[in-house]
Amino acid sequence: MNTLIVNRQQVEVNDEGYMKNPAQWTTEWANQVAAEYGIMLTDKHMEVLNWLRKKQAEGVALSIRKVGQSGIVDIKEFYQLFPGGPLKVSSKIAGIPKPVSCI
């Protein structure tokens, strides 16, 4: 079993470092993982992360396009907040499973 220690708590993660149980998520986790990507979390980041967590809990299949329609950021801003693969990176920080393409 892979675990990561965040704030002296053991957090279960998969091979790629994604949190297995979104309920274990804390802002400490978010800050620690974001730092690995060189990201300093701002209120805007947190707004996106909370939206992702909420949608994931509702069972919505997330996509970059959906984030762009969230009313929080457009796709361009999403890329600026989480450079590289914005959905993969933000999902990891948000403590939700890696998004899967359905096809």
Partner: protein
């Protein structure tokens, strides 16, 4: 007399009309099907037209040929669906009431969604191949093309027949090799996915093939716009890919009527919220959705429509008889992947199981090989055209199980 209304007479709608017509008592049920087009296009054939493997006339037949005589076929534009009133209005003003509605309105490429795609380069240096016009125009272009940078780009992750762009790349490699100008053509495959395909095992096999064929993959590229002056693709994070000839797979959307009827999901792509197992609308009790029109997390492909058809048929009969909907779709998808030079590969998967190696459809004897490149697979793909026109559309049983089977597969 009750009304069963089917919207869309493509692969899924035609198949449902045939199956339901055979099962429902014509004294009790009237079946009506509506489509804007009188002609049925064999869409898997579009892939072969640019390379001269199929001629355009081989992929078109009148829709009426495939519908039972007792089904009322209306050729008209659908204006609006009003599921609260169980009514559909047509452009010519006709109102159709229904007791059960089947939506099979499909998906279309919408190049207008991306700036610079459908501008002055459209059908000059930028082509699609998922439409009859696009693929026939591209055939003309390729005849005289002398070489340069050929870029194949997927604008979105949710597209019809997700393996077709890869097949296009493989067939292009073979086409230019046979023409003797392969050394003058640089082929790039530019995708928003992190690799050639979405499922890891299939991606590994396909990535190797792409490398062997010297097709360059540029992953994680999410197209924002096309710079028409410089002939460059630009992503949301400002990466650039130059092209001489762009073969684009534009953003795919559900039909406009879904938007007009305000029935799409929150993606804004006009796909309808659908229960992924029963294929019933998540909102309306007497509305069912099949094929590319749904938002279920399965491929948008004819094989999926076929497997869904078996399930939906059972569930509609259960619904009509007041019984619970017990048939469950497992996400089964089955795709041939043409790899050029008379060979093809084959993948078979569902919601939970990724493509596995082995033989198909029968254990041991095959004759087709899964995740392998063989001649038998290529003949399977060519034979499928006959199966499509003569068996699939008319709702006959195919020798392939509806639920994905692990028989013949290597699971270790």
């Amino acid at each position: 007399m009750k009304n069963l209304l089917i919207l869309g007479a493509g692969t899924a709608g035609t198949m449902m009309a045939n199956k339901l017509y055979k099962a429902l008592n014509p004294d009790l049920w009237k079946i009506t099907i509506v489509d804007r087009d009188e002609l049925h296009y064999y869409q898997p054939g579009f892939l072969f037209i640019p390379f001269g493997i199929y001629q355009p006339e081989q992929v078109i037949k009148p829709k009426a040929n495939f519908l039972p005589k007792g089904v009322n076929f209306i050729v008209n534009e659908i204006e609006k669906i009003n599921p609260e009133k169980n009514r559909v209005s047509l452009l010519d003003g006709r109102m159709l009431n229904y007791d059960v509605l089947v939506i099979a309105t499909g998906t279309v490429p919408v190049p207008e969604e991306t700036k610079g795609l459908k501008g002055k380069l459209w059908y000059k240096d930028i082509f699609d191949f998922y439409t009859y016009e696009g693929t026939t125009r591209l055939a003309d272009k390729l005849k005289d093309w002398k070489g340069g940078k050929l870029v194949i780009n997927l604008a979105e992750t949710i597209i019809k027949c997700p393996v077709a762009p890869l097949e296009f790349a493989f067939l292009a490699d073979a086409y230019f090799t046979e023409k003797g100008i392969r050394d003058k053509v640089e082929i790039s495959y530019v995708t928003p996915l992190s690799g050639a395909f979405t499922k890891p095992k299939a991606t590994a096999m396909l990535s190797q093939l792409l490398e062997e064929k010297k097709i360059k993959v540029i992953p994680d590229f999410y197209l924002e716009r096309v710079d028409e002056e410089r002939k460059v693709l630009i992503s949301y994070d400002e990466m650039e890919v130059p092209f001489d000839l762009l073969v684009s797979v534009p953003v795919n959307k559900g039909d406009d009527v879904i938007e007009r009827s305000n029935m799409g999901d929150e993606d804004g792509l006009n796909f309808i919220p659908t229960d992924k197992e029963t294929l019933k609308s998540k909102i309306h009790d007497n509305v069912f959705i099949i094929g590319d029109a749904t938002n279920v997390p399965a491929s948008k492909a004819g094989s999926v429509a076929h497997f869904e058809g078996e399930i939906l048929f059972e569930n509609i009969l259960s619904y009509i008889n007041g019984q619970p909907l017990e048939a469950k779709f497992d996400g089964h998808s089955n795709c041939f992947i043409e790899t050029g030079f008379g060979k093809a590969s084959l993948i078979d998967f569902n919601y939970d199981t990724e493509p596995l190696p082995g033989v198909f459809p029968w254990p041991v004897v095959g004759p087709m090989g899964l995740l392998k490149v063989t001649r038998a697979n290529h003949y399977g793909k060519l034979m499928f055209k006959w199966v499509y026109w003569h068996m699939l559309l008319t709702g006959k049983k195919l020798p392939v199980s509806t639920h994905m089977s692990l028989a013949g597969k290597v699971t270790a």
